[in-house]
Subunit: 346 residues, 2 copies
């Protein structure tokens, strides 16, 4: 893993490939060039100016709105959103660090295309066949701390598929599809660091089969987007309940569910002063713990009830049986009841 030192501060229109070629003339066939998305965005002009005197945070919130197609979860000022690209990330990946105070930097418009262009230009300039990964820093659901992942790639398979392979014990590996571009982004971050002004690092020695040069043959990092049917976590529960945006955020996205959307609108029309939580409560076919903080207002309770009524109707329409078990208001607990889901009736 080799840092590329001596790169300048980049701005819109700068020749990133030329700068990398100049700073790393030692690039060789098969190298993976990992570039921080921030410099890609800067040279591509994916920058939102913060006018003098403007409220930087307000500009940032508007930029997040513009970059998002959906709020996945929300807590206070923190928004986990789905970007237009399909990435689920805090604040739409908009970061104010390592940026002049008068600007915000967005994610690249199409980081796979950016990676392809950089790869092509490095081939022209240095005569080398390298792969490119465009990296950004994302959080994770149940793990503290951030790691670098890939938001764009070109010239290498984003996923290495061991499915169907057989290990030394004769077991078939069923689900081992490695997100190699994410591991490369993480590895490169160890070299780049966050404060060192080293936005590019090179990983040498990785064995891989480059994709075909034919248009469309390179899936890019977009292949890592997991949404729709593959998404087991389409929304964060705090969002289901907290200060929420239009009901469209809450509608299951795999079909036209106008009726349910309407019920959710009822549930969310008045912002509850307290978050009400629909949370999965344990084992069994399905138990939903329904929480209402002790100091919740009747408005919050009404909203939660509407949500619950809508959910029950939805569940019955889908063939489930349900049983509602009120819990009362035991001291100190916010649990008001449990919704038990029986087996599908079919």
């Amino acid at each position: 893993m080799l840092p590329v030192r001596g790169l300048p501060e980049f701005t819109t229109g700068d020749d990133l490939a030329g700068a990398v070629a100049g700073a790393a003339p030692w690039l060789a066939d098969g190298d993976v060039v990992v570039v921080t998305s921030k410099v890609v965005s800067k040279v591509e002009g994916r920058v939102v100016p913060v006018p003098p005197g403007a409220d930087r945070e307000a500009v940032r919130q508007r930029a997040i709105d513009a970059e998002s197609v959906r709020v996945v979860a929300r807590r206070g000022p923190l928004r986990i959103v789905e970007t237009r690209h399909g990435w689920v990330v805090a604040a739409a990946g908009i970061d104010a660090s390592n940026v002049p105070g008068d600007a915000l930097v967005l994610l690249p418009e199409d980081a796979d295309a950016s990676a392809r262009r950089l790869r092509g230009r490095l081939r022209e300039l240095l005569g080398v066949d390298v792969a490119v990964v465009v990296s950004d820093t994302f959080g994770r659901t149940w793990r503290e701390g951030l790691t670098d992942v890939a938001v764009g790639s070109a010239g290498l398979p984003p996923l290495i598929d061991h499915r169907g392979a057989v290990d030394a014990h004769g077991n078939r590996l069923e689900t081992t599809q490695v997100a190699v571009v994410d591991e490369l982004a993480s590895a490169a971050d160890l070299v780049k660091g966050k404060l060192d002004g080293v936005p590019v690092a090179v990983v040498r020695g990785l064995a891989f089969e480059p994709p075909d040069d034919a248009p469309g043959a390179d899936p890019g990092a977009r292949a890592l987007v997991r949404l729709g049917p593959g998404d087991l976590f389409p929304y964060g529960s705090r969002d289901l309940v907290g200060s929420r945006r239009p009901a469209a955020d809450l509608v299951p996205r795999d079909g036209d569910r106008e009726a349910v959307a309407a019920a959710f609108r009822v549930a969310s029309a008045a912002l509850p002063e307290f978050p009400v939580v629909l949370r999965h409560g344990g084992e069994g076919d399905g138990v939903v713990d329904v929480h209402l903080p002790e100091r919740a207002t009747t408005t919050a309770a009404l909203n939660l009830g509407a949500l619950l009524g809508a959910v029950v109707v939805q569940l019955h329409a889908e063939g489930w049986t349900t049983r509602w078990e009120p819990v009362g208001t035991p001291g100190g607990s916010s649990l008001v009841g449990r919704l038990w889901l029986g087996s599908p009736r079919v």
Copy 2:
């Protein structure tokens, strides 16, 4: 990044540190030794035998039960669970690959302690001060493919905290806490691969400050557990709604009567101390005034809400459009909102 080649197949009671010292006598101060959790578990006897003739999948499901404190999401046979350690991971991290067919390998009982022991023994055997990361392969919520992350660590800070640091532009970095042990695990996986029989790799050249040797001074990878209040995704929603049937179920049909009846059951299951009133409110082609007495309990409000949610779903199933207008809680009035019914959509 250096692979440690020539390691044997491990089994319970084997001397892992001795084997690593023998295969990598070149280990040096400051190296990070990344060990696949599977070999740690094997030498520590964290293995569940599969008796001859037993149903391997049934044994595996029971092992997942035993290792889990909570099911976070479920789809068919796939369970995302919270382990006793606090990791949220598919199948409790129990994997059947790279294991003889008569056994399943669990996560180490306490991988931070395992890492500390290995670090201590390598110091004794080779006189070197290395850090140790115990890695495992986890999936991610919204990204395809797996990456290696840390489940245990010793001798290095699991998180490098850039919060409060200032970048070259004078911006304070607010949230950049890097999960460096996870990035190390990912980096090492690029060298170890999945099928090569290389369960140990060494990362050399990383600058870090080892934690103090005092007991308890090393937080270990456990510092990366994010659950409880910090968890924005405490459950998987597919679990809430189960394997749903086609949206066509929501169009008006005889069965809707049953669904709405179920929602009404939810609404009335707990005896409300106050009657809840759905009353036709007058003008237009449909306005329903929704009342809730001022002294109503949150339980009554919850029940009313459930009724309302069910009614809205029913109305939409019958072709009405609706709009919910919250009224707030004006002094002396019990009116909490109005449900406007538009013309049937036909």
